[in-house]
Structure formats: C-alpha cells, structure tokens
Symmetry: C2
Subunit: 417 residues, 2 copies
C-alpha cells in the first residue's frame, strides 16, 4: 500500500536515497520558526485541520473553489481540510477577542491542504509558519511583522544576498485603479478584483494577453508598467521603510508594485519574500486584511489585521541550495556496551540512570558480540561508549578524542565527553 500522491512521509536521517522527506529537517525548521516568533513575543495558537467549508468560501472568493479537500461528513456537514490558516485565526479571534489585549501577536505552524492538479514536485500539503498581528492600523504593525519575517529567514543563516522582501500596497493600486476609471462607465464590484488578478499574474502572462484583459477594464499595459516602474512609496510604505531602517533591516526590503497577492481579502500593504537569484517560487507572502475579522464574525467584531505565511517546501529547497541545512545523523550520546551478559541487570540500571541524567542512550537489547556492539556504536556516531567492568567500575571510551578511563559506576555521568 502506498501513500497518497502529493503527500509526504517524513523519515529520520540519514534518509534512504529516494523521494522521501526528512523529519529531522522539518523539526529543525519548526524550532527555528518557534524561537524567532517567541523573541518577537508572538504567542503560539492552533485550530482544527478540518473546518466548515463555509469558513473559506465566505472569505476567499471564487479562486479557492475547486482547489479544496472538501467533503460531506457523516453528520451531513460540508467540511474541508484547511487550505490556509487566516480564516481559522479570524474565527478564533472573533470568538474571544475581549480576553486578549490588543495588539494580539500570534503564530502557528499548521499543515495546509490543497487539491491541486498533480504535477511533478507539486504537493497537496505543506506546513506553514503563520504569523499575524491583530488590532493595530498603524504601519508600525506592518513593520513589526515584516521584521519578524526577515529575522525568521536570517535565523537559518540566509542574508540580504539570499533573499529580498518585495513590498507593495493594495491602496496604491486601488488609487491607480480609481483614477484610471474616471469618466468610464460605472464598474461592477468584481472589476477591481479582476484587475488585481491581472496584475498578480503579470509576470507569468504573455504581454498581449495582459494588454487585452486590461483593455477590457479600460487600462493599457503601458500605463500599468509605468506605474510599476515609478515605484514611488506611498506614505504607509515610506513609514514601514523608515521603521525597518531604524532596526538596521533596510537592505532586506524594496518597493515593488508588481507584487499584489492573489487572494481577494487583502486591503493594504502586501509583500512577498523571494530568493535574490530568482531560482524558486515565493518563499513567503502576506499583507493586511483589515475587513476579514468583521466578515468572518458576521459584523460582530471589527479589528484590523495583517499576517504572513511561509511554507516549508520552498524554504527547504532554498536552504539545501545554499548549503544551510545541518547534518542530522548523530543523536546518540552514550552507547552502553554489555561485554558480559551477567552484568546486563546492572547495565540496564546504568542505562536508566544516564537517561534520567538527560543523555540519549543506546544499548543492545539482546546478547551481541562486543565487537559488533562497538561497530554499532560507531555507526551511530556515538560520543561515548560505556562498559561495566564489574558491578563497581565502568570503562568510558570517548570515541571522538579516543580517550579511555575507568571510574566508579556512580561517577559515570561526570566523565562523559
């Protein structure tokens, strides 16, 4: 029996030379994300991986339909595996916002699911570092969140030579759109959204096609390109740039109006993180969604908000390409070698005591020749091999410095390398 296409198995390292993923690398990434989020005083939360379908269709507009792992459960409910975290967060905040002082700074590491057409290397699930800041309209909030994104990438050893945050603004594009509509027939509500979709796909669409689509909405590709090239920061973007400069982070951001983000619910500043060499898809993306909490809560709670998501797949590709993933093949601190089976009970006690003292300890479950045990200890890249000489004394061999001593059993932990 096989796993489903587009899903991943995570194996301990060293990995078999096949198309499987590293559980150790995943845990390494999760720990870095958590560490940086906590320094920024973001608090961890989580919601269910299964939610009402309505939670996502309400929010994300038509582009989400047809891409979900949705089904009807045995109670007749229309449900779906979560394709993103933001609606769950908005739901949770709306339910208990009075209990938390604003601004709320929360993060999560959810697994997300999309039923996309199966392509080589395209996955149907991934993990995301989601960080959100709720209850503050000032661009200082945007700057705080973007600084977190920058430091979350720097935590892996990535520098301004590796990645850049492209900063843009839906407000700027909305103004451009409105001024361009002066004197033309009243637009339908969906027109602005369609305009944003064309801008979002500009870089991966043939110019003629964009030209035609823009013309239908009363714009020329030339004026759009001119606006992009002007790159004049709005007041909010200027404020964010200055804030980041004060932190010493200005080299990690640039204004780039080509970024607009596909999702329907963004309202203000939007941004994406890319590798500088342009080898990979976006590393992360986010922006302001000031109307979403109100929408999800049925108008009951109205709070400005913004957030970003960073997936584990592109990040892992980038870290591998830059040689920034550590080796994960050594986890054993001590191998307790049992040379004389008569000493097995005392050896088990020693195993127990060393584990209680915090060491990762391995030993042979059954009788094995000492030279084979020693070989196994070497394969495990164990730091120390410890062997009872008799009930009272142990021989400790430090395999890294090839040092050997004999000490009293009770003294073992004090002499481990």
């Amino acid at each position: 029996m096989e796993r489903l296409p587009g899903f991943r198995d995570f194996y301990p390292e060293p990995l078999p030379h096949t198309d499987v993923w590293s559980a150790d690398a995943r845990q390494f990434i999760f720990e870095k994300w958590r560490t940086v989020a906590r320094r920024y005083n973001f608090r961890e939360y989580d919601g269910p991986p299964l939610e009402s379908l309505e939670l996502f269709t309400t929010k994300s507009g038509e582009e989400i339909a047809g891409q979900l792992y949705n089904f009807t459960d045995k109670g007749g409910r229309a449900v779906t595996l979560r394709p993103e975290m933001t609606p769950t967060l908005a739901r949770m905040i709306a339910a208990h916002e009075r209990n938390y002082k604003k601004p709320v700074k929360w993060f999560a590491l959810p697994q997300l699911f999309r039923y996309e057409r199966q392509q080589k290397g395209r996955l149907r699930e991934h993990f995301q570092f989601n960080a959100d800041l709720i209850g503050e309209t000032d661009p200082a909030a945007d700057a705080e969140l973007i600084a977190l994104l920058i430091d979350a990438l720097r935590a892996f050893g990535l520098t301004e030579k590796d990645f850049i945050i492209r900063l843009s603004s839906r407000n700027a594009w909305q103004e451009f759109y409105k001024s361009g509509r002066d004197g033309v027939s009243p637009s339908q509500t969906s027109d602005e959204y369609n305009f944003f979709q064309i801008i979002d796909k500009l870089e991966r669409t043939p110019p003629e096609e964009s030209e035609t689509k823009l013309a239908a909405l009363g714009f020329s590709l030339a004026e759009v390109n001119q606006f992009i090239e002007s790159g004049r920061p709005t007041a909010e973007l200027e404020s964010i740039l200055q804030n980041l400069a004060a932190r010493g982070l200005k080299d990690f951001v640039k204004v780039d109006y080509k970024v607009i983000r596909g999702l329907a619910y963004y309202t203000g500043v939007v941004f994406e993180a890319f590798d500088v060499q342009g080898q990979f898809r976006a590393i992360a993306g986010g922006g302001r969604y000031d109307n979403l909490v109100k929408l999800i809560s049925g108008g009951r709670v109205d709070l400005p908000a913004l957030g970003f998501g960073m997936g584990d797949v592109v990040l892992l590709e980038l870290l591998k390409a830059r040689g920034l993933l550590p080796k994960f093949d050594s986890t054993t601190d001590v191998f307790v070698l049992i040379g004389d089976e008569a000493l097995r009970p005392q050896s088990l006690k020693l195993v127990q005591d060393l584990r209680a003292a915090g060491y990762a300890v391995e030993y042979p479950l059954t009788a094995v020749k000492p030279d084979k045990q020693f070989k196994r200890a070497q394969e495990l890249k164990t730091a120390n091999v410890v062997q009872l000489e008799n009930s009272d004394y142990v021989r400790i061999r430090d395999l890294r410095v090839r040092k050997e001593i004999v000490v009293g059993v009770a003294d073992t932990a004090n002499h481990l390398g």
Copy 2:
C-alpha cells in the same frame, strides 16, 4: 462561524474562561514527550494525516468501519483522516526497511481523527505520542518500550502513586482459549477475535451479558475470572518484569489479565497505563503486533513490532487533577519603554539588538503614555523594563527585585535580570 463539534481550538494562555484548550499546555506536553523519546534514542518520523482508506480496513478489522472521517477525493480515491498511526508506520517501514538498522526505534506526535457519536467531552481528534520498536522479538524490546512509557509519564512529575501499567498477554489468552476449546466443535476464525472482544469489555459489561456471550463460545464467566485472578505471569511477562526491576521500575507495573486491548492486530504482550485512583480512562495503551508489517506490505516484508500510543486529552486531565501543569502566563523577557517618541528609532534598534541576543522583547507599536506602557509591562509579567534615557544610556528596571540601574546602550544585555 463556529468550529466543528468535537474539534479543538488551542489558545495562548491565560485562557478565556470558556471551553477552549491551551496551546501552551499542548506545546509543554509535546516537548516533554520529545525529550524523553530522544533519551531513549527513539527518532522522530511523521506521515500524512490523510491516507488510503484501505490502509486501515486491511488492518483493523470491522471495529474500525463506521468510525472514520473517510470520503472520496476529487481523483476518485477512497481516503480517510488517520484514526491511528500504526498502519502508516508499518507502510513506511515496509517501504524502506533496508535503509534502517534493526531494531528501529521511532516515535511520532500525530493528530488522529475518529468520527464518534458526539457526546459531552468526547472529542473527534486528539494528539498522540506514538512510540514503536520494530525488528526484535525478544521481550527485552517490550521492556524497553514499557520503560519509555513509564519515563514519559514520570517526566511530568507523575509517580508510582499516580499511575500503573497493567501488563497482559494475548499469548496467555490464546492458550486459555485453545485449551477451553478442546473437545468442542471447530471454531470459526472470527470466534477467537470475538472472545477477545468480550474480555476487553468485561469491566464495563453486566456479568450476565458476558456470561451469555462467553457461553456461546463454550466458556463460563467463572473460569474466565479464575484465569484472570490467577495472574500467573507467562515466561515473556516474567522476563519483562525482571528487566524493568533491573532498571528500578518494578513499582510501575503489574500483571493484569483483564487487559487485552480491543484492536484485532495485537499478537503478544499488551498493556495499558491507568491512573491509580481510577478517575480517568486509560492514559496509554499498546502491545505487540508481529504480523502487521507483513500484512501491510502484502507479504513482502516480515518484521516483528510493538508500540504504544498516549493521548493528550486524558494526560492533560490527569496533570490538571494532580496540579502538575505549570503556569504559562509569562513569556516576555524585556519591555522596551519609549518615553520620548524622538527616541523611537534608537528604541527600535535596541529592540532589534535584544531580540538578536535571544530575548523575547515587547514594545509599544505606537505612541502610548509611559505610565500605560509600564502597566502593560506589568500585565505581561515582564522581567525587565528598559528605557532609553537618551541616545547613549538606558535605564533598566528589574520588576521582580525592584532594582534600577542606568548603563550604556551597548551594555544593556549584560545587565538584564
């Protein structure tokens, strides 16, 4: 919009006084589980939360059907949210067993899903600490795994006064069953499984009902009870008891043949962990499943195996009842108070530097009166309030010992309490 019934939202502490769960407590539990597993040199793995339905129906027999979150995906595949981890593990091991030296010692912290009838307090998902040992038939493997279970509970401060591992053996029950069938008509293959189900439910079934059901299989309740009360350890159980005694863990286990475990695939030693006061459902359960890897791999790979699962829900209830959950309400190391808005850029730089040095740092995103900032720092139970006096000096107030000093900005981190 609300979350689905039987699913949990995990909020940061302090919690609103409602029916939500603590993300901090969950993370606390996960970290303890990981720490102990690593000391036992178990390696972390994970598989997809969504699997082929067949993976579970092949393995678990009829008792699993009707309890799953199963559906047909958009590609026409019969799929299900995983109700347990063992079949995924068996699938993963079968796929790559040659790459891993035996015995394999792996653990995972999966979220599992069951579509159970909705009852007050009954959940449809939970997290489980799953640990498995693959490739060793000797009872020494069972002892190693049970020792891990014991230490995973002790890591939370639970003692032999709080919990006990009830140890049993399907082998012993199989012998009892076979000897009881001497001279009666040949049994059907499902009869033994039905017999195990009756034993499994003995403690929560009226005696008359058990009597009737047992009689249909040619047994009396009296002889069953006599076998249970005899409690004579088999050779394998005796070996496990001695092994655990050598580690100093004998007070945490007892032989109890009332335990037999419901699942169809157990083959040898089985066990369950209970709170001594009998207030809660089982804390953990597991056993040997020597035929499962062969079954899942279609006969290609044949490896003995055993494992246990410990859920987060009962454990959390128990820890709360015993007062063993820490408080999670203090996460801020430093509050950078901005008394003069002209010093905001330098204050942002200080925030950045302290975070880079590893501190969890909070500050006001926008202009706020200093006394309100100070109040916020107190609410956050911040250890240190740091305020720039001017570009060169900071005032550091240690709120716990009420000490105040002024030092050079670059020297701040060296003077934090």
